[in-house]
């Protein structure tokens, strides 16, 4: 588990994914990262950002199941986080049925990328 991913392993394999927050359940292909697999299944519950492991928007906690992962930004996932199953959904590849939930970002500020900033409140009104 958590080895760097090889090129398109088991493309025919799919695994069932459960997102606790949105109660979404979908089938994810093993050769797609979890976030893109969720988008392709038109499921919701994980934040969609860069899809490249850089922005932190898709930060989740894997509660159950096996996965491989690619390098993800240490700005959002520390080694300790990773050991606890906190990952970026766009950098993991399911290897079994997974149960996940979204995870707040580790910021000093109360600001969270999913909540509003000043410009955002200006845009809304």
């Amino acid at each position: 588990m958590k080895q760097p991913i090889n090129a398109t392993p088991y493309p025919q394999d799919t695994h069932r994914i459960h997102i606790l927050d949105s109660e979404a359940v979908f089938e994810a292909r093993a050769d797609l990262n979890l976030l893109v697999a969720m988008e392709k299944a038109r499921a919701q519950g994980i934040g969609i950002g860069c899809r490249g492991g850089g922005c932190g928007k898709c930060r989740i906690r894997v509660l159950k199941g096996e996965y491989d992962s690619k390098r993800m930004s240490r700005a959002w996932v520390s080694e300790a986080d990773e050991a606890e199953g906190i990952v970026l959904a766009c950098r993991i590849f399911p290897r079994s049925e997974l149960v996940v939930e979204s995870e707040m970002l580790p910021l000093a500020e109360p600001y969270q990328p999913r909540s509003s900033s000043k410009l955002q409140s200006a845009a809304i009104k």
Binding site: C50, L107, Y111, K118, L119, A122
Partner: protein, 307 residues
């Protein structure tokens, strides 16, 4: 008032995987790979740029921007601006000649928004790629991907853009070309130029310091932007939004992501600015249209997906 800063010189970006990053910037954007160094950094440029490089990629454990650097007329300008930056209160550091291959000494300084900037005056000039200096052809053959012509600007997010904008205007001689003001007159976004371009750098107010929104590359035409969009689909590259037009600067644009999550933009067209122009102002109540002129709605990603 111009102070001898000419243009964006180079941007150093952090990437999580160098091979993937090179295929994005070289093969997809169509930048020219010009060099590598013993730290493993990769140097690239757009084909119209006369200096040796304008983009430096560094493999790291996070994405984002290390620094962006502006080229000055000569070393005398760098010396006097260095003094002014110190007096202004910046933390200033001399980076020795050769730290970037083919680049002279650089003066690095910090800013209220938490970004690192540099000024320099000396860089190896290798000329436009694939063209002769005398009797040049219209364009070089052998370009790939989107055939991006130059690194044009970056948009940076951080707290206290008022402070960084003041630093750029007062010390470095940039003009404010465009801005977004809220009802109370607070500036939420500022687009600055040191040339006739609509922007050479832009800032948006945001609580996290030192963030990169995008690095942008210039294309000649709207048709080129559409072709870039085709290539994004053909390569299954992570898309953000577009092709569309910005209200701010009126550039025709597409946003997408590099394989480490740094946002890239390619764009064509846009307004011009002279020093006697008043800043173009957009109200926060029309922010959707200011950012995405056709959708007229701001997507959440524009404000929150940063590296």
């Amino acid at each position: 008032m111009k102070k001898g800063v000419m243009r964006p010189g180079h941007i150093q970006l952090r990437v999580l995987d160098m091979d993937e990053a090179v295929s994005h910037y070289r093969d997809l954007l169509g930048l020219i790979e010009v060099d590598r160094d013993d730290q493993g950094r990769v140097y690239l440029k757009g084909w119209t740029e006369v200096d040796k490089f304008s983009v430096v990629l560094r493999e790291a454990d996070s994405a984002g921007m290390d620094f962006v650097s502006y080229k000055c007329l000569n070393e005398g300008v760098v010396d006097s601006l260095k003094q002014e930056l110190i007096e202004y209160g910046c933390n200033v550091e001399e980076i020795p000649e050769g730290e970037l291959k083919g680049c002279g000494r650089r003066v690095r300084f910090d800013s209220p928004t938490g970004h690192q900037f540099e000024i320099f005056a000396t860089k190896e000039q290798t000329g436009k790629w694939g063209l002769t200096q005398k009797n040049p052809e219209a364009w070089p053959r052998g370009l790939t991907g989107m055939k991006a012509t130059r690194f044009d600007h970056c948009l940076l997010y951080g707290p206290n853009i008022a402070g960084t904008i003041d630093l750029f205007r007062e010390v470095l001689g940039f003009d404010l070309a465009e801005q977004v003001l809220d009802d109370e007159g607070t500036r939420l976004a500022g687009f600055l130029t040191v040339s006739m371009k609509a922007h050479d750098v832009a800032f948006i107010e945001h609580p996290e310091p030192g963030k990169l929104h995008h690095a942008s590359f210039f294309l000649e035409t709207w048709e080129d932007v559409l072709r870039a969009a085709d290539l994004i689909s053909m390569t299954d590259t992570s898309i953000d939004i577009g092709p569309t037009r910005h209200g701010l600067t009126h550039g025709k644009t597409i946003y997408f992501f590099d394989p480490s999550g740094n946002r890239s933009e390619v764009f064509a067209g846009g307004d011009y600015h002279y020093p006697d122009h008043e800043p173009v102002t957009w109200g926060a109540d029309t922010l959707g249209k200011a950012i995405f002129y056709h959708d007229r709605v701001l997507n959440d990603r524009f404000l929150t997906v940063l590296t």
